[in-house]
Symmetry: C2
Subunit: 665 residues, 2 copies
């Protein structure tokens, strides 16, 4: 495809170089940490598997597979962005299709790499065991989920810090102090800002959902293994893998529908694709679940409930973040200044978790009930089959990952294309209408993907807790026991502490960026007159380094806290800890993601109403700036935190169990 004129190519290559530079440095850090942790995990392998590195190898493969999926997707995104800009010169509808196809790489890479990794490890280990003891194999693969969550934490937190620091730095000095427009090539931080779109929204979210589906697959197989022991039906173990493959088909079928009619908004075309994917996946699931034999329709219904919960979450997020009552409340509150703007956004954010969380809980409760009926028909104890009902619901929800990620991947590509259009001076040729339409769709799809990521993190995390229960073989996590309560409430501290650090990290990194941009304006003559090119690479480098540095403390705390709770207070407290992290984390994530998006859209609404430069607009910009690190750094990183805590607990679970048995004599 045509990559456009020379200037466009030059800019896109700068973005591409910056993105790669970031990933290279980040990957070095991650691989280093991976090796250190793998060494610790290998101790477990020595104790439990006679030195065969089942857990440590799957751990490393999980990390590497996640990094690879992120790398390829970002590579595709940075190739596509300039082609979307060129397509915008040629037609109104074509840029959408090109951008969507770029995003589709993300969706397909993430889902298929996860499936290949989990299934590959599973069959490899099974074969190494001489095709015997299949029920023990899923537990050996669990390192894969842990590895994926490590990669995701760094990708999402580091990417989130990077993207917001670059954004705030570019805006504060460029727009506010120097008075040049957004995406202006005279701004030294402008390339870093565009790189940020890729590393945060593309690689970050991809790693987040890679982790969700990998951990969920493995967790489901661990739970399935318990049912296999009761029924000798292997399909309880294989169903998660088959379902994942089904989701890929649904994504492909849905993608066929991304053909905008003339004059149609891109969001409508993508919504059509989503609906087509949901219908296809739902229909295929009927056949996929039919292999469960008599009463299979109850498990089918459970999986549909999971999909329904995902759709309700999307509708709720849309209500709170698009132009409806809540955003208009924020718009109105800008009339009385920044303080009331912040307060009304906080109020919207605090209300937002209610509907999504209730819909997740309702899906869990109802699918547990349906699973129980399936169990009655097949003579399986109700608790086991009930839990498998919740597995079916979670799998149902996560079967939509591919199409949602494809739509999400559209966002940063469209943002980049828009930046390239502006920087290469072809804005008038393209026309502001096409550019605005491209932009608007990206915001919607990103916020839909974030809502989906949150909902699926909640489902996956509760499923992983049940897998943890299977691993540590504790029969009871009784809230009457102080040890459970202490674990649980101390778990609730972690998401707050983690968010505090993430927000502070953005502030500190942005400050570094501000100083650098100011320095360049001061020391490099003629930048503002466009006579001299600013040092883009230096800004990319500063953001990259600072992001790596700032993510160390929160990451370490998240890794060490569950291990400390487990060894000091035992496996029951650690179970409570996971639930505490999930309960508090999911509320905070919805609060921050939704509140942030609502502030953002309130600002955009005010700008569209032609009120740029008024006091109302200034207040709305302050709201948006407050919301940025909440919705793009702390919030999305919390999804990963939930699952990381579960995964660490599962991997360390058996060691903690042994240690606590040793203490008891």
């Amino acid at each position: 495809m045509n990559p456009g004129n020379e200037k466009m190519i030059k800019i896109s290559q700068a973005i591409r170089r910056g993105s790669k530079a970031y990933l290279h440095r980040q990957y070095k850090v991650i691989l280093l940490v991976m090796v250190v942790i793998a060494a610790f995990v290998y101790i477990l392998d020595v104790i439990q598997h006679g030195g065969i590195p089942y857990v440590s190898a799957s751990f490393m493969l999980g990390t590497v597979a996640s990094l690879l999926a992120g790398y390829v997707s970002m590579d595709a995104a940075t190739i596509t962005n300039v082609r979307v800009a060129q397509a915008a010169r040629e037609s109104k509808e074509k840029p959408l299709v090109v951008a969507y196809l770029g995003g589709l790489v993300l969706g397909l890479m993430v889902v298929s790499m996860s499936l290949a990794g989990v299934a590959g490890m599973f069959f490899l280990y099974w074969w190494l065991n001489g095709w015997s003891g299949v029920e023990k194999i899923p537990t050996l693969v669990m390192g894969f989920g842990f590895g994926a969550s490590l990669a995701a934490l760094f990708a999402q937190l580091g990417g989130g810090i990077y993207t917001k620091a670059a954004d705030v730095g570019a805006d504060l000095v460029g727009k506010v102090e120097a008075g040049i427009p957004e995406d202006d090539p005279r701004n030294p931080a402008v390339i870093a800002d565009n790189v940020g779109d890729n590393v945060g929204d593309c690689a970050g979210r991809g790693a987040d959902l890679f982790e969700s589906i990998s951990a969920e697959n493995i967790g489901s197989m661990i739970i399935g293994a318990a049912l296999y022991l009761l029924t000798k039906n292997l399909y309880f173990i294989f169903f998660p893998l088959v379902a994942r493959a089904t989701g890929i088909i649904g994504t492909l079928v849905g993608s066929l529908f991304v053909k905008p009619r003339e004059g149609e908004m891109p969001v409508s075309a993508m919504r059509r694709a989503l609906i087509a994917a949901v219908i296809t996946t739902a229909a295929l699931f009927y056949f996929v679940t039919s292999w469960f034999g008599p009463g299979h329709e109850y498990l089918y219904l459970a999986s549909l409930l999971g999909m329904a919960a995902a759709l309700i979450i999307e509708l709720a997020i849309e209500y709170y973040t698009e132009i409806h009552g809540p955003v208009l409340d924020i718009v109105r509150s800008t009339e009385t200044g920044p303080a009331t703007t912040i307060l009304s956004g906080l109020s919207v954010g605090m209300e937002a978790p209610a509907i999504p969380v209730i819909s997740v809980l309702a899906a869990l409760g109802a699918s547990y009930y349906l699973g129980g009926i399936y169990g009655q028909i097949n003579g399986i104890p109700p608790h086991f089959s009930g839990i498998y009902g919740t597995v079916a619901a979670t799998i149902g929800m996560l079967s939509l990952t591919g199409i949602i990620l494809a739509m999400d991947g559209y966002g940063p590509i469209a943002d980049n294309a828009s930046g390239i259009i502006e920087m290469s001076g072809i804005e008038e040729e393209v026309g502001s209408e096409v550019k605005d339409v491209l932009d608007a769709a990206g915001n919607t799809t990103k916020s839909l993907a974030k809502g989906f990521a949150m909902g699926s993190a909640a489902m996956a995390s509760l499923l992983l807790f049940q897998a943890y229960v299977d691993v540590v073989r504790v029969e009871n996590f009784n809230l009457m026991q102080p040890v459970t309560l202490i674990g649980l409430i101390s778990g609730a501290i972690l998401p707050f502490f983690f968010s505090s650090r993430a927000i502070r990290a953005v502030g500190r990194t942005a400050w570094e960026m501000i100083k650098e941009v100011r320095r360049q304006f001061r020391e490099i003559p003629g930048i503002l007159e466009g006579k001299n090119e600013p040092d883009y690479a230096k800004c990319v480098d500063i953001s990259t380094k600072a992001a790596q540095k700032e993510m160390i403390v929160p990451s370490l705390v998240s890794l060490i806290a569950p291990i400390a709770v487990g060894f000091l207070l035992g496996p029951v407290a650690l179970g409570g800890f996971q639930i505490g992290v999930t309960a508090a984390g999911i509320m905070l994530a919805f609060l921050m993601n939704t509140g942030g998006a609502a502030w953002d859209n309130a600002k955009k609404y005010i700008e569209r109403s032609g009120k740029k430069g008024t006091e109302e607009h200034k207040a709305s910009v302050i709201g948006d700036t407050v919301g940025d690190p909440l919705k793009d750094t702390a919030g999305p990183s919390l999804h990963v935190l939930l699952k990381l805590v579960n995964n660490v607990s599962i991997v360390m679970g058996s060691a903690i169990l042994l240690y606590s048995l040793y203490l008891l004599g």
Copy 2:
């Protein structure tokens, strides 16, 4: 004592009238709601106690006793304020003593009314039962705690909405629009603002802690009754009452030390009083616990742990809100504008719960362990005696209520005195130094009291959960069961939803106030020239009415949610629900109270540095305005919410149990 000159008396009477007008209207609403709920509760009495109104009568007495304690304390406060202003004309040290004595009325009223109410009901019901079946009596008194929590919810939420709406309204139109100083008599909302200090900080916090100690006393007696059945030792039931009386002695001894040395800061004098009270109470507790017989020193240690946790919480709150690292971080972030100011305050608030919550959990865990040792010595099953260990810790912490509330009561009295000094034009005579010293101490004691109220709400709430367990006789709240998890996570939604509504209520009420002040400036000629008096009463009335209206939805939701969860999902889910509310609520309360106070003090620091009117100062004012409804409305109301949910659950527990047994056939 001398109430000062005519003008001072006139102003203080206007504040007193306004405060009484507010309380009268609020009490009407509360008494009406009380009668309606009592009618429902009486159904329980008919089912369970053959129509004898044990629960409904104690419920009504709990409400009325709380209201009475609030009324008398506020009466004392509004008599004292003008005398403090007059004392400031006479000496430097005297105003502190006068204001403290006014606050002491609050401390003593709350503690002794609660003790009299609980003990009185207990002995009355015991006598009515012919001095038999003592183990059943505590459960009959539990309505008292529910009544107290109803009164507290209205007092704290309504008072919080009132005080912040008046504050914001007075500031935004008076200071910002009309450019007149704070507490200027030309501002129509100035009396409402001073009334707000009394209804929020005095009556509101008093009702909050009245509820804590009442519910904790009754909960302890319910748990004690279970131990009485095992040991036939009545002291397990009586200890909470004896301990409460001991706390009163400690408060009185401590108060003897409120004699400032020449030139000493009031806070130092009060800190000396607090230390004296802690030492006295701790010493007396040795004798009081010695009646537990062999091994009593373990329960003594447990009670000391509770006191120690309270002191650690105070130190942590001081670290986060006085001029240390966190507040200086906020001060620095004002240099880059309001957005970074908000973000750094949020970051401070999110970090703040960690130390206080861990210290509460550590006290609970260690006291459970100590209680277990006591049980071993006396042949009591370890879980029972362990829980009694946590009871001893909670009682230890709450034994400091009297002295903390006396210090808290100092705050609004000093604020009012300062307002009267300003409005009556005796400012120069008094000197700004004395006035500033009065003010600063009030802020510190208020924030210490809030920290104590939060910590004790957490302790009381977990204790009430154990009492709930005794009432519904469920043996297991297993987190592996979806029903427990669903209850728990849906519980975590409530504090977020409630806070969202509370924040919005302040915004709406403040808006009413703003419109009224603007109207008066416009329609009453000569206000700003001081020729005509504004209509103070009208502003008081508007805030009063709006506060009553706005608290209806959040209050109803808090009452209905636990009942709905209990009847729809059963007693196990309701147990989880309480823990979810506690875990999420305590984090949010610490976040909002501490973050809000940190913003406030950052602003004060900037003002003291002589930076009034700079951009930094403007940013810090925005931070303070955002923090106000968080720290004075939503945060403190959450303490009450936690306990209200527990109390509703305990009162409805037996009905829910019967209903769920009926469903099971």
